[in-house]
């Protein structure tokens, strides 16, 4: 627009400002976490359907099983791609987080707007030695979550964010 220095024309929706931003990928172990989560959900569904099939014997239950399996396979494939698409970048003044394949999202959160940082790790994540960092601002719509970080990296990011946030913090 009437910008002082318009950035270079971007190549793809997930790669804005390719020469100024160094994107950090998240750990590919998150694929396993997500796959396990998916498998658990699928298993519950499949057991339910299988029991129904064995009991009732209607062919629709078989079709249901096949659909669930196919859907699960497709989802597994997208999980792999989605985890590779997830990334974050720390710039001088803000944090960038990008994710999503079907709907691609990029969040830009200035450090000065940060209200608090959440670091969480569920049992599955812990088993794979991963953690999630989430940045909260005063706006509910802000969506800056970085999953699949090594605990060391997660605490580094948390410390850096809080330090930068304290540095630049301001009231609303």
């Amino acid at each position: 627009m009437n910008a002082a220095e318009p950035p270079q024309s971007p190549v793809s929706a997930l790669e804005p400002w390719p020469d100024t931003v160094r994107w950090q990928p998240i750990s590919t172990d998150l694929i396993w976490v997500e796959l396990l989560r998916l498998a658990l959900g699928l298993a519950v569904l499949l057991v339910g359907l299988a029991v129904g099939w064995a009991w009732h014997g209607h062919w629709l239950f078989g079709v249901g099983c096949a659909v669930v399996l196919l859907g699960g396979g497709w989802r597994a494939w997208t999980i792999v791609r989605a985890v590779h698409a997830w990334g974050y970048a720390e710039r001088a003044d803000d944090l960038l987080v990008r994710h999503g394949l079907l709907v691609r999202r990029l969040s830009i959160v200035p450090y000065s707007r940060m209200q608090f940082v959440d670091v969480s790790a569920g049992p599955l994540e812990r088993a794979f030695d991963l953690a999630t960092v989430q940045l909260h601002t005063a706006a509910a719509a802000t969506d800056a979550r970085v999953p699949g970080l090594r605990p060391a990296e997660a605490s580094r990011l948390r410390d850096r964010l809080t330090a930068l946030g304290e540095d630049r913090a301001e009231g609303l």
């Binding site: 627009m1 009437n2 910008a3 002082a4 318009p6 950035p7 024309s9 971007p10 929706a13 804005p16 400002w17 003044d93 803000d94 079907l102 709907v103 691609r104 999202r105 990029l106 969040s107 830009i108 959160v109 200035p110 000065s112 707007r113 601002t137 005063a138 706006a139 509910a140 719509a141 802000t142 969506d143 800056a144 630049r168 301001e170 009231g171 609303l172």
Partner: protein, 516 residues
């Protein structure tokens, strides 16, 4: 925030405040960040700091004798107005009658009904008296503390640097008795925090003035450079809060006829004759007028008309004034409200052009303040109206006042590329967005046009979102999030432009922060 205290800028708004509130000179001057330093003459006021820690003891037995004499001590805890339990009781009377309903009346007869109502209302009043006895508030340093509850004691410390707006509400009953309710909006509170019901009008005005003074004194820069021209004004203002109560430069007063006409120009009002005709036709053709049918029809119509009628009642006598760097909004017929919003706290201004108002060239301005949850659907409790109805010039004038340097008619808005019509065949031509000097502006809407203005300094985060259909067309949507309200959204920009917009927005957000 603490670093601002010793500075001359921080100290500036405080001294004028002290003579205004003689009951608390040291507490105000010392300006502790936390409650404890507020007791320079500690033995004089033992209950104040002790109360939050050990709430088991009954609070202040009688405030003037207990601590009022301790001029050197911390501020004594204040009670609400003694009439407030009566008002609460009267309010519960309505609730009781509504709760018992007509069917109870017909079943038990009038005498017993009256007894029942009296007993219940009396019980509610007694409870209100007990809760009044146990409720207290005072300002400790930079906090407003509110104590309440008999069995479950609750002490709320409201940090005043987070104060977003103060509202003095006077429901009909309170107007008759000369009382008022004080409501505070604080960041992070999903609902209105600490409604102090009720105070006498003078007390409410004084307390509001003090709260705002304490809140504004927070970071020196906020009062210092928010409004450079009337630099001496806040001091003068705070010096005599009661005497200069209706002070402030009036900006605009909405004429009540305009308000009535504007609410008649709503779909509800337009559809009413159609509904009436339909009902009458149905009755005439059927020839039967059963009571239930008439009653239900009337109820349905009242429901439809409720919104316009409520808007008329709420926005009656709407007046807008500017008082130093604060905005003062006064409105209401049965329930008058006086809201004070520091200009610093304005997160978003939304300009709306409803379809039927366009023939008059009218618009509506809405103000978003942090503290109200965005999803709150009850628009009655969101005193967000900056201008219920007005023409273009008035709107532009008020926008320029609230967001200095913004000219409503001359915003640099640009339309998205023509291929957007594949996604939004009808409203594509209405979409626009642009970066102004101090605000981000985004327009949308086919029938009801909306223009959202977000100051760069208030932007919390920027998001770029691209859906599958948008990917095909190489489009993306840029969202700007704010602490209150929905922010602004630039729909369907060209991808390269969306990135440029996001980059420029973040750059301006940082710049806005630095210059403040």
């Amino acid at each position: 925030m603490t670093d601002g205290h010793p500075g001359p800028g921080a100290a500036h708004p405080t001294p004028p405040d002290v003579p205004a509130a003689p009951d608390s000179p040291p507490a105000m001057q010392i300006r502790p960040t936390w409650g404890t330093p507020a007791v320079p003459a500690a033995p004089a006021a033992p209950t104040v700091p002790a109360a939050p820690a050990a709430p088991g003891h009954p609070p202040v037995p009688a405030e003037p004798t207990d601590q009022g004499g301790a001029a050197g001590g911390a501020e004594p805890r204040q009670r609400l107005h003694p009439l407030s339990p009566v008002l609460h009781g009267a309010k519960s009377l309505f609730v009781v009658i509504a709760g018992l309903s007509w069917s109870t009346l017909s079943r038990v007869g009038f005498g017993w009904f009256a007894v029942l109502v009296a007993v219940l209302a009396l019980g509610a009043t007694v409870l209100a008296v007990v809760s009044w006895y146990n409720t207290g508030y005072h300002i400790v340093g930079r906090e407003l503390r509110v104590y309440e509850g008999l069995l479950w004691r609750r002490t709320r410390a409201i940090p005043l640097e987070r104060l977003q707006s103060v509202e003095v509400v006077r429901p009909l009953l309170a107007q008759l008795t000369g009382l008022a309710e004080l409501r505070l909006e604080v960041v992070g509170g999903g609902k209105t925090e600490a409604p102090l019901a009720y105070l006498s009008v003078a007390d409410a005005a004084r307390l509001r003035q003090r709260l705002l003074a304490v809140a504004a004194g927070t970071p020196a820069r906020e009062t210092a450079d928010a409004v450079p021209p009337p630099a001496g004004d806040p001091a003068v203002d705070a010096a005599a809060p009661v005497a200069r109560e209706p002070a402030g430069r009036p900006l605009h007063a909405v004429s009540n006829t305009d308000l009535l006409v504007s609410q008649l120009l709503t779909p509800q009002a337009f559809l009413l004759p159609v509904g009436v005709a339909f009902v009458v036709f149905q009755f005439l053709s059927e020839g039967s007028w059963s009571f239930i049918a008439v009653a239900s029809t009337l109820t349905a119509m009242a429901g439809v008309l409720l919104q316009p009628v409520r808007r008329v009642l709420d926005d009656w006598n709407f007046r807008l004034a500017r008082e130093a760097d604060r905005l003062r909004i006064h409105n209401g017929l049965l329930e008058t409200r006086m809201q004070t919003v520091p200009l610093e706290r304005v997160q978003t201004v939304v300009v709306t052009w409803p379809l039927l108002w366009r023939m008059k060239g009218w618009l509506r301005l809405r103000l978003e303040v942090a503290g109200y949850s965005g999803g709150e659907t009850d628009d009655r409790n969101r005193p967000d109206r900056l201008l219920p109805v007005g023409d273009r010039e008035t709107g532009a004038r008020i926008v320029a006042e609230v967001l200095p340097g913004v000219r409503l008619g001359a915003l640099p808005l640009t339309a998205p590329p023509a291929r957007v019509r594949w996604l939004r065949p009808l409203s594509a031509r209405r979409l626009a967005a642009g970066l102004d000097e101090r605000v981000f502006a985004a327009r949308s809407g086919l029938l009801t046009r909306e223009l959202a203005l977000v100051p760069y300094a208030r932007v919390q985060s920027v998001r770029v979102v691209q859906g599958p259909a948008q990917r095909r067309l190489r489009l993306a949507t840029v969202h700007v999030d704010t602490a209150g309200g929905a922010g602004a959204t630039a729909y369907h920009r060209d991808l390269a432009e969306a990135w440029a917009l996001a980059a420029e927005l973040t750059a301006r957000v940082h710049a806005a922060r630095r210059t403040r």
